[in-house]
Every structure is written in structure tokens, then in C-alpha cells.
């Protein structure tokens, strides 16, 4: 098994996801949970991008120098995961903003950010 950079990136993505998941379940403060989810998000993005990488190839952008119309098939990598992640990051920003605003509102109503205090819906 040879080690290549996309394998390391894949590993990195998986470990980031695990760390984020652990943080999201074990931490108490809501802000810290959102932070952990943000790490999880980055991990997923790294993972998906690393799946589209091909060894020794370069970005699928024609600049007439290194990549031209003729050789793009042989030198460019897979563009689809990039397009997916591009939108995922922006959505992630919107979701983070929404979660943070909700956290602010929760603090306003209960004067605490400890997740264990929010037990209204527990049965």
C-alpha cells in the first residue's frame, strides 16, 4: 500500500469528523457544540474533496498554459466533488449562523448555555 496525499487527506477528514462528533456529544456548552459541529463540517468537506483527487493531476481550469482544451482529459481532476463542496460550505455558513442566533435566543430565555438545563422536552 503506497501512501499518497489523498489518502492522508481522507484519513484527516475521518479523524476530524470523529473529533467533531466526540465534541458535539460530550461538551456541555451550546456554543462549544456548535463549534464541534463546525469541525465536523470541515472534516466532511476534506473527505469529499479528497475522493475527487487523482494522482499527479491539477485543477480543471483551462489557462492555456498547463491545461489546454486538448489535454484537459488527461491532466485535470474530477470537478464534481468540488462543485458539491463549494455549495456545502456556503450552506454550512448559513446553518452555523442560524444555530448561533438560536443559541443567543436560548440564552436570553434561560440565562444559561448548559445543554443539561434545557430539559423541557424530556419525558
Amino acid at each position: 500500500m503506497t501512501i499518497t496525499i489523498d489518502k492522508i487527506a481522507l484519513f484527516l477528514g475521518i479523524v476530524l469528523m470523529l473529533i467533531g462528533l466526540y465534541g458535539a456529544f460530550s461538551l456541555k456548552s451550546i456554543i462549544r457544540i456548535i463549534l464541534s459541529l463546525s469541525i465536523f463540517d470541515t472534516g466532511i468537506n476534506v473527505l469529499i474533496v479528497s475522493l475527487g483527487y487523482l494522482k499527479g493531476r491539477t485543477a480543471p481550469i483551462i489557462d492555456g498554459d498547463k491545461v489546454t482544451v486538448e489535454n484537459i482529459f488527461n491532466v485535470a481532476i474530477d470537478p464534481v466533488p468540488q462543485a458539491l463542496v463549494l455549495t456545502a460550505i456556503v450552506i454550512g455558513f448559513g446553518v452555523t449562523a442560524l444555530m448561533l442566533v438560536y443559541a443567543l435566543k436560548l440564552y436570553q430565555s434561560k440565562k444559561t448555555l448548559d445543554i443539561n438545563q434545557f430539559s423541557d422536552l424530556k419525558w
Binding site: I3, T4, I5, D6, I8, A9, F11, L12, V15, L16, I19, G20, Y22, G23, S26, L27, S29, I31, R32, I34, L35, S36, S38, I39, T42, N45, V46, V49, S50, G52, Y53, R57, T58, A59, I61, I77, P81, Q82, V85, L86, I89, V90, G92, F93, T96, A97, L100, V101, A103, L104, Y107, Q108, L113
Partner: protein
């Protein structure tokens, strides 16, 4: 060959820094330091995206992950602290 080895070392070191930073973000007692550590993860993730030949994603991550998300976290923490101060 030399290039491959170089890229490998580069990405391994960056990955180690990112993982240390992620562990720090989860373990740290201070929220502010944790937010900063997340900023470090985003910034280095941007370099890694660039190495994986996807400049578009690198740009988005640098613009949104590093700048705007940090701003959002800090302003929300500040609003919460402000409410505490008012008491």
C-alpha cells in the same frame, strides 16, 4: 519523485497541526481559545484543499470558514457577555 515526497511531508505536517488544533478545540476550557483553534483548522484546511488541486474550494473555505465564521462566533459570544454585564 522529489515533488511527491515534498507534497507528502507538507500534507502530513499540516494534517498533524490540524488534528492537534482540533483536539485542543474540544479539550480546551476556554471558549475563545476553542474558536481560535477552529479558525486555525479552517485556514490550514484551505491550504490542504489547494494541495488537493481544488482552488475554488480553498477560496471558499478561506473566505467563509476563516473570516466570517470567526466573526459570527465572536460577536455572539460578545452579545452573551454583554447581557451578563448588564445584570
Amino acid at each position: 519523485m522529489k515533488m511527491e515526497l515534498f507534497k507528502l511531508i507538507l500534507i502530513i505536517v499540516l494534517a498533524v497541526i490540524m488534528l492537534a488544533s482540533a483536539v485542543y478545540a474540544v479539550v480546551s476550557k476556554k471558549t475563545v481559545s476553542a474558536v481560535l483553534a477552529t479558525g486555525v483548522i479552517s485556514l490550514l484546511a484551505s491550504v490542504i484543499f489547494l494541495m488537493l488541486a481544488s482552488p475554488d474550494v480553498a477560496m471558499t473555505e478561506a473566505a467563509i470558514g476563516a473570516g466570517l465564521t470567526t466573526f459570527l462566533f465572536f460577536i455572539i459570544i460578545r452579545k452573551i457577555e454583554k447581557q451578563d454585564d448588564a445584570k
